[in-house]
Each structure stands twice: as C-alpha cells, then as structure tokens.
C-alpha cells in the first residue's frame, strides 16, 4: 500500500467538494449520488489504508528548514480517522433528506465534503505544524456551515465561533513555536519530543503547555471557552450532529492528546500545577455542562451542552497524564461520537418532520415517531452509562484510570462523573418520558403531522443503535485495540 493514499484521502474530498457547485447536475438525485459516491469511496479507501497501516511518511510540501506538510499514520490517528470515516457517509445520507427543506444545498454539500478531507488531514498529520494548518483550515471551512441559514442569529453564532477558534489557535501557535525551538523534532513521537538538555527550567515551558492545551481545547469546548458550541446549534442538524458532536469537537480533543502525549510528553506535566489546573477545569466543565443542559429547553442546545460535558470527560482522561487515562479518553471519544450523533439525528428528525425545537412541544411525540424516539432513548441510556450499552465501558475505563492515578483531584473527578451521570439521566430521560408518556390532559389532535422519517434518516439511526448495543455488550476487541494505541505513550 502506497503512502500516497494518505494524501489522496485528504485531498480527494476537498476536490470533490469544490466540484459540487461547478458540475452541471441534471437533478437532485444525480447530485446525491455523486456526493454519496465520493464520500463512500473515500471512506472505503480510508479503511483499506487503516487495514494496511502504511508505516512510511509522505511529505507533501516543504516550507522551509524543518517545516513541512507531511502525513503519517499511527495508532491515535487510526482511531480518529476510523471514527470520522464511518460516520461521514451515514451523516451525508441523513443530510440529503434533512437539507431538502433548508435550501442552498450545493454550497452546503461543498463545505460539508471539504470538511471531511480537512478532518482526515488532522488525523493523519505527521507533525505539529501540519496539524496546526489543518486545524486552522477546519475553523474556516466549517464557518459557512454554521451560518448556513443566514439568519441574524446564525451570523452572530458563526462570528462567535470564529473568534473563539482563532483565539484558541493563536494560543496553540505559541505552543507550536516552543516545540519547534525546544523539541528535538516537530514530529509526533509517543512520549514527547522535548529536548531535556535545552529545556533548562521548566517553569515557562509549563505555562506554554497550558496555553497550548487551552488553545486547542477551545474546539473541545472546555469551560470557559464553551459558549460557542451551544450557540452554533443554529446550524442545520447534520452540521451540529456530525461536526459539533464529532468531527470539529473531537478534533479539539484529538489535538490536545497530540500535544500532551506526543509533543510535550505526559511525564513532563504529570504532577505539576498545570495538571491540577487542567483537572480542575475539566472536572468543573463536566458538571457545568450538565447543569446548563438541564436548564435548557431547546432540544438541540440541550444536547450541545451535554456535548460540552462529555467532551470534558475526554479531556479529563487526557489530563490524567497516564496511558490508562488516554485509553479512557479514546474509549469515550469513540463511544460519545456514536451516542451523541444518534441523539442529534433524532432531534433533527423531529425538527425535519414537525418543525418542533423545544422540549415542551414534544408531548406524546413518541407515538408518532416511535422508531426515532426508541433510538433516542437508547442513546439516552447509553449516555447515562447503563451497563450493556457503550457509555458504561468508557466511563468505567475513565474512572479506573482516575483511581489508578492516585491523584486526589482525580477522585473528585470520579464524583463529578457520577453527578454528571445523574444529571444526564435527568435531562435525557425527561425528554423520553415526555415523548412516550404524555400527561393525562394530552390532546392527540394537537399533534398534527410528524411520523417516522424515511429510510435515509432511519438507516443511520439503526446503525448507531446497533453499534451502541454491540460495543456495550462486547467491547473487548475495541478496548484491546485502543489499549495498544495508548500503551505506546
């Protein structure tokens, strides 16, 4: 298997996306076939590549000196690329149905497909500079997706998103510079690349690491940089579901993993005040996100706050600075992707079929859309961490890592995880209960329209439910694979 495939899977979606508005499609169906075909083809290629695991690097561009744009596949990248390439075709399928009512489809699918390539670029980047480039690019290409409706609210939201992302990237850039100066190389090496001879006093470098972590974690919506995510919920649901529950936010988590375990090195940070700061922030965000979710009555925004909380589960795992912590973080990265995209797709299906956005409007809707709400309930239970569904596995691994790390703040984190689980139960199940068991004075006549959507929306839901149950009951192979990834660091 040639290493050039790595570049191809990054560039092909970008090219395919750019061509969407240019190509003369006879009708909508042709366009759908073209886009889905391109995305599916790319995913198949990615999978072929992941199976063959090309070891060598591929240098695309050489800027100057040791700055280059190069790609290489390693364990961590495999995980992220696998998540993205499984979810993208399904989300695209869902988007065809959903976007019918939103308009401007060509522009939408152009950026949607380009984002696929950019996200893979982050996953496959060999060094910090390449990753940084794609990280910036990701902010830019997803911006039009957020302001898709061009309403005032959407434009404000996209502006917030842009400021937050750019600010975060600027902080992260400081870290990139320092790694270029103090590291032996800018490439990602498990265990870190800091040149101990050159470091001298670590005080400044710790601060830089903190800034860099915080900068990248803006995309992962760490408090106090979390408010862009719920605001961005004005975007069409395929965007909120795929980008704001998986691709973009997980890219934030992924980059923090890279700088922590592959650039600065976990040993460098473990036990310092920086670790305490990060643990405090993540633990706080876990509870804060859930509390805000509880307060929110807008279904998609509630799910967005829930994402804020769950992303901090991942960051919490990262901040434990142990291989076990990374394992927990990776588990949750995979499982949360499936659980949350499923919940978002259900919310989107409701909006698509009935135009209802608020939770108090959902009385009895479970009778109109039983399949959608069955899927929603499964994802709710998975998010709560009911054993037998995948959320339990990742929580178990995270807690195990926290207890093994013998850090007193980590024990606080365990309590936070459980409080968050309880709050999750409250904010997710109250929706399900409302949908399936409306109050006695419920009037069925008021529930006009709305029934289960067609197969394009249901198929992704069915796949996600199957994955949640499948991994919940039999997670061992996946956990073992992730273990081998995490063991390297």
């Amino acid at each position: 298997m040639n290493a050039i495939v790595m570049v191809f899977v990054v560039l092909f979606p970008m090219a395919a996306g750019v061509l969407v508005p240019v190509l003369p499609f006879k009708n909508r169906t042709r366009m759908m076939i073209y886009i889905e075909g391109a995305v599916l083809f790319n995913s198949v290629l990615v999978f072929a590549m992941l199976l063959h695991q090309p070891r060598e690097a591929f240098v695309l561009l050489k800027f100057t000196g040791n700055l280059s744009m190069s790609f290489r596949l390693d364990g961590l990248g495999t995980v992220f690329a696998a998540i993205v390439s499984v979810l993208w075709p399904l989300a695209t399928l869902y988007a065809f149905e959903y976007m019918k009512q939103e308009g401007h489809e060509k522009i939408f699918f152009m950026f949607y497909t380009i984002t696929y390539g950019v996200t893979l670029g982050i996953a496959l980047a060999e060094d910090l500079v390449t990753m940084y480039c794609f990280y910036e690019m990701l902010s830019l290409v997803t911006l039009p997706l957020i302001m898709h409706t061009l309403s005032r609210e959407a434009i404000l939201a996209s502006r917030t998103y842009l400021y937050y992302s750019m600010g975060g990237a600027a902080f992260a850039f400081i870290g990139v510079i320092f790694i270029l100066i103090y590291g032996t190389t800018a490439d990602f090496v498990p265990g870190g690349v800091l040149d101990t001879a050159r470091v001298g006093s670590p005080g400044l470098l710790l601060l830089v690491y903190l800034l860099c972590f915080l900068g990248f974690s803006v995309k992962a919506a760490l408090w106090p940089f979390s408010s862009w995510l719920p605001k961005a919920g004005v975007a069409p649901t395929p965007v909120t579901a795929l980008l704001h529950a998986v691709a973009v936010v997980k890219a934030g988590a992924f980059t923090t993993m890279r700088v922590t375990y592959y650039s600065f090195g976990a040993d460098f940070v473990r036990g310092t005040w920086v670790q305490s700061v990060l643990l405090c922030l993540t633990v706080f965000t876990i509870v804060y996100g859930c509390s805000r979710a509880l307060k929110e009555t807008h279904l998609k925004r509630r799910l967005a706050w829930s994402t804020v909380s769950n992303l901090s589960y991942i960051l919490f795992g990262v901040a434990l600075m142990t291989p076990l912590g990374l394992l927990g973080a990776l588990c949750h990265m995979v499982f949360h992707a499936v659980m949350k995209i499923c919940a978002f797709f259900c919310a989107g299906a409701v909006i698509h079929q009935t135009g209802k956005n608020y939770i108090y409007e959902l009385d009895g809707i479970g009778y109109r859309m039983p399949k959608v709400f069955a899927a929603f309930t499964v994802s709710a239970m998975a998010l709560m961490g009911v054993p037998g569904l995948c959320g339990f596995i990742s929580k178990w691994k995270l807690v195990q890592a926290a207890l093994e790390s013998e850090n007193s703040l980590a024990c606080v984190g365990v309590a936070a995880l459980l409080i968050s689980a309880l709050l999750t139960a409250i904010y997710m199940l109250s929706v399900s209960v409302r949908a399936f068991f409306p109050g006695g004075n419920f009037d069925p006549a008021g529930l006009e329209g709305g029934k289960d959507p067609n197969w394009m929306m249901l198929l992704p839901l069915a796949v996600f439910v199957a994955v949640m149950i499948g991994f919940g009951l039999h997670a061992q192979p996946l956990v073992r694979a992730l273990e081998s990834v995490a063991a390297g660091v």
Partner: protein, 533 residues
C-alpha cells in the same frame, strides 16, 4: 449446560417487549383513523376477546417463567456466564441460597399479583402496556436475584429502575408522571452512589464475584481504608434508596398513591427488596462484614436504619391517605431489614432475611386490600373506610391477618422475624444499640398497631351514625343524591371478584402460616447467615 436458567429471565423479557412493540405496531396502523391506544388521554377500551387473549398469554408466560425460576432456584447451585462486558467483567449468573430465597418469594408474589391485576387493571385501562412492563420487570428481577457478581447486579438494578418506572406513571395524570420521574431520579441517584462504591471495590477487591464473607484484599487496600469506608457508606446509602432508607425515602409515599395498586404491591413487596438484596450482597459478599464492624459506617448505618424505622412508623401513623400510609409503613419495615443487616450478627441476618420474605407477602396483601377498596368503592382515605367490613368482610379479614402479622403478634409471621432482629441486636455487641434497637422496634410495632388496626376496628365496628358534623353533612348529601346512586354504591361495594380475592387470601394465609410453621425457613435463613459471617 446450565443455560436453561436463563429461560425465566429471557422469556418474560422477550414476551413483555413483544407486547409493547406490538402495541406500537397497531398504533401505527390505526393512525389514519386517529384512534390510537395511548394516544388519547383516556384509556382506550380493548375488546373483550382481545383482553382474554392478552390475559391468557400473560398468565401463561408468567406461570411458565415462574415455574422455571423456581426449578432453577431449587435444583442446586448453577452458573452461567452470559458474555464479557470487558476482559475481567463478565455478566455472570449464579444461583446461591440467597438468590434462591429471593427468587422464590418474588415469583410467588409476582404470579399472585399478576392474577389480581387481570381483574384490577380493567378499571385502569392500557392493559397491554401494563402487562408488557409487568413481565419485563419480572425477568429483570429474576436476573437481579440470580446475579453472580456486582456489575451484573448493578446492570439489572438500573434496568429494574427503568422498566418499573412506567408501572408508576400508568394512569398518566400529571402527578403520576411527576411521581414516576421522582422515583426514577431517586433510584438513579442511588444507583450512581452505588456505582461510585463499585469503582472502588473493583480496585481493592480480588474479584467482584460474590463470595460469602467478602473478597476485600487488605494488601491492596493499604492506607486507603478510610476512603473505602466512605465508598462503602455511599453504597449503603445508594442502594438504600430503593429500600426507602432515610434521607432518600421520599419517593415511596409519592409513587405509591398514584401507581395502580398491583404496581404498588410489587413495588413495596418486591422492588424495595432489590435494594435490600443489593446492600446484602455488597456488605456480606464483597466487602465482608469484618471490614465495617465497629467502624463509623456501622454506627451511622444502624442509626439511619433505626431512625427510619421510627420515622416511617410515625409518618404512617399521621397519614390519612390509605396507600400513602402503607407506603410509609414500607419505609419503616424495609429499615427493619436493613437494621438487621447492619448488626453484622447471625441472628440479625437471619431476622433480616426472614423479614424480607414475610414483609413481601404481608405488604403485597395490604396493598391488594387497598386496591380492592379503590376498585370496589373508590375509597382512598382511611376515614372513608368506616364500616367497610359490613360490605366486604372477607377482604377485611385478610387485611386484618396481614396487619397482625406485620405488627408482630404471635404466632403470625412478623413475630418470628422481629424476635430474631431483637435477639440479633442484643447479641451483637454494638453498645448502646444493643438495647436501643429492640426498644425502637417495639415502639414501632406499637405505632404499626396504631396505624393498621383502626382500619379493622372501624371497618367492623363503625360506631353510631352520628359522628362528626362533617360526616353527618356528607351522609345527608349522600341521602339526597337519590336512591339510584345509593344502590349503585351498594352494588359496587360488595366483595370483589374471586380473581382479586384469592390472591389476597393466599398472601394473607402465607403471612400467617409462615409464622405457624417457620421451622424450615428459619433453618434456611440461619444457614445463609452462618455462611456469610
């Protein structure tokens, strides 16, 4: 080889799920006409033939699974590993003596209450939904009783909370939905407290598989004893939520009045016991009683249990709504059991196990009576029950026997278990609790007499007609309402159908007879107690 012990778990679960799914299926078909079951706020009547088939199906499934459950429970020790959640965490079932005991009384009560609900649920409607969840919960409970390790137990504990919640909100009134949510969130809160402890136990125990006497590894524990004590206490509190232990008892009096009576009966009689079972398993099969003996955890646990015993009885005594009174009574009685467990002595554990069994029968009998009162004449408050014994003497006799058993008047069953509980307290070398425990139990027994017997007394001996002025006015109003209504009341007010009376009589008879012939049961419970201590 032993795979067939999964039948009583999966048969009801599959049947229940099928019932629920089928309901949705028909709802989809009927959606054009707008006549959907469950769509409308009111119950939609199902046709008689459909109902008959439903009852036949549910009855058959229930009966067959109960038979298999009993067969599995009493055919010696068996085990099955279903699958592995993670490398070292199997979902694993093993039937031991405790599991067998719990499965036995669960199955008996479940079948009896099931028969009762065939009649009772006519007036609640949505029977398909009710029986669907009723079967589901049964399967989950059997799995819970058969669980062979802590994670399996936890898994089915959570599933039990989720599947029993729809039983509470069955009538769909606003209060019912809120009560169900309250029940769910209390349970979840408890479950997560329990999970908190499980995380720690996983780290410090050799295995989470239940082993009589505990599996705590003191070498691993090292200096972290204090931390683990906190975790264990969290588990007691957490699983104690289901058993209605203070300070998390409030879901019981909220959930019971709005739930259909058969649901209340199994909630109080059986599901509360799941909390007891979980605490029992944690303390005696994983942590080990020696670890908490003499620590602040034991003291706090005993204090909370005793406080709950007393407060529950007191609140029951003051309560006027009949089912709420019974709910408070459950709060109090479940803590008798927890108190017995907290003593960490053989007699205490024996008493706790006996009381679990007896209370299951007694409390279901009491709730079935309350259900009959509601079903036959719509009476929910205690003062409305004046003179009810004239109309339904058999029902009230059953109630009286159960009440006597609960108070603990010899030779009815409650006496035996309380005897062992008191003996356990005296033996256990627990300082002030040695005498405080029996005293509180005695006071609580008096209060129990105070809140249960007046129903009997006034039921049979209503006294003269001229009571308070308010009642007088009511009587006059009733007289004005006309001859027809009065006749209707009389017609509905008689003894209930056999389908309701027989399960009640069976429960009440068991409550008394187990007290008369307790030998084998005591021996069995004592054997368990000796094994774990």
């Amino acid at each position: 080889m032993d795979g067939w012990i999964l039948i009583p778990i999966f048969l009801p679960v599959i049947a229940g799920a099928a019932l629920l799914a089928f309901r949705r299926g028909t709802a989809g078909k009927n959606s054009d006409t707008g006549m959907e079951d469950g769509m409308s706020g009111k119950a939609q009547p199902e046709s008689a033939g459909e109902l008959k088939r439903l009852h036949l199906l549910v009855g058959a499934v229930l009966f067959v699974s109960a038979l298999f459950a009993l067969a599995a429970a009493w055919s010696g020790e068996r085990q099955v590993t279903l699958f592995y959640l993670m490398a070292d965490i199997p979902i694993y079932f093993r039937i031991d003596q405790v599991g067998a005991l719990f499965v036995t009384f669960t199955s008996i009560v479940w079948v009896a209450v099931g028969v009762y609900s065939f009649v009772y649920m006519k007036h609640e409607g949505r029977e398909r939904q009710f029986f669907g969840f009723y079967l589901l919960v049964y399967g989950v409970l059997v799995a819970l009783d058969f669980s062979g390790n802590l994670v399996t137990l936890y898994m089915f504990y959570e599933l039990m909370s989720l599947t029993s919640m729809p039983l509470v909100l069955h009538n769909r009134s606003r209060e019912a939905v809120m009560a169900a949510l309250k029940y769910l969130f209390y349970s979840m809160c408890g479950a997560y407290c329990g999970l908190f402890g499980i995380f720690f136990l996983y780290k410090y125990c050799d295995t989470l598989t239940f082993t009589a006497g505990g599996t705590l590894n003191l070498l691993l524990l090292g200096e972290n004893g204090g931390l683990l004590l906190v975790a264990v206490f969290m588990m007691i509190l957490g699983f104690g939520v289901k058993a209605g232990m203070l300070p998390m008892h409030a879901w019981l009096p909220t959930a019971h009045p709005v739930a259909p009576s058969p649901a209340s009966a199994v909630l109080s009689g059986i599901i509360v016991k799941a909390g007891v079972l979980a605490v029992f398993r944690v303390i005696y099969y994983v942590v080990g009683p020696e670890f908490i003996r003499g620590t602040w955890v034991q003291t706090a646990w005993m204090s909370l249990a005793l406080l709950t015993v007393f407060m529950g009885s007191l609140l029951a005594y003051r309560e006027k709504v009949f089912k709420k009174r019974l709910a408070y009574s459950t709060v109090s009685q479940a803590s008798y059991i927890l108190f017995g467990l907290s003593l960490l002595s053989e007699a205490g554990v024996t008493g706790a196990l006996l009381h679990s069994v007896f209370h299951a029968f007694i409390k279901s009998a009491l709730f079935l009576t309350a259900g009959i009162f509601i079903f036959q004449c719509g009476k929910t408050r205690v003062e409305e029950l004046r003179g009810i014994g004239k109309r339904m003497p058999k029902t009230l006799w059953c109630f009286t026997f159960a009440a006597l058993a609960l108070i603990g008047i010899p030779p009815a069953s409650g006496f035996i278990s309380k005897w062992y509980l008191a003996q356990g307290a005296l033996e256990a070398n627990v300082g002030v609790f040695g005498w405080l425990g029996p005293v509180v139990l005695l006071i609580s027994a008096l209060l129990t007499a105070g809140y249960l017997l007046p129903v009997t007394v006034r039921g049979f001996f209503p006294g003269s007609r001229a009571e308070t002025s308010k009642e007088k006015a009511e009587n006059e109003l009733g007289a004005q309402a006309g001859q027809e209504d009065a006749e209707a009341v009389r017609e509905h007010g008689g003894e209930p159908a056999l389908g309701m009376l027989v399960p009640l009589a069976v429960m009440a008879a068991l409550a008394v007879l187990l007290g008369l012939f307790p030998g084998a049961l005591i021996e069995y419970a004592a054997r368990i107690a000796a094994a774990v201590l």
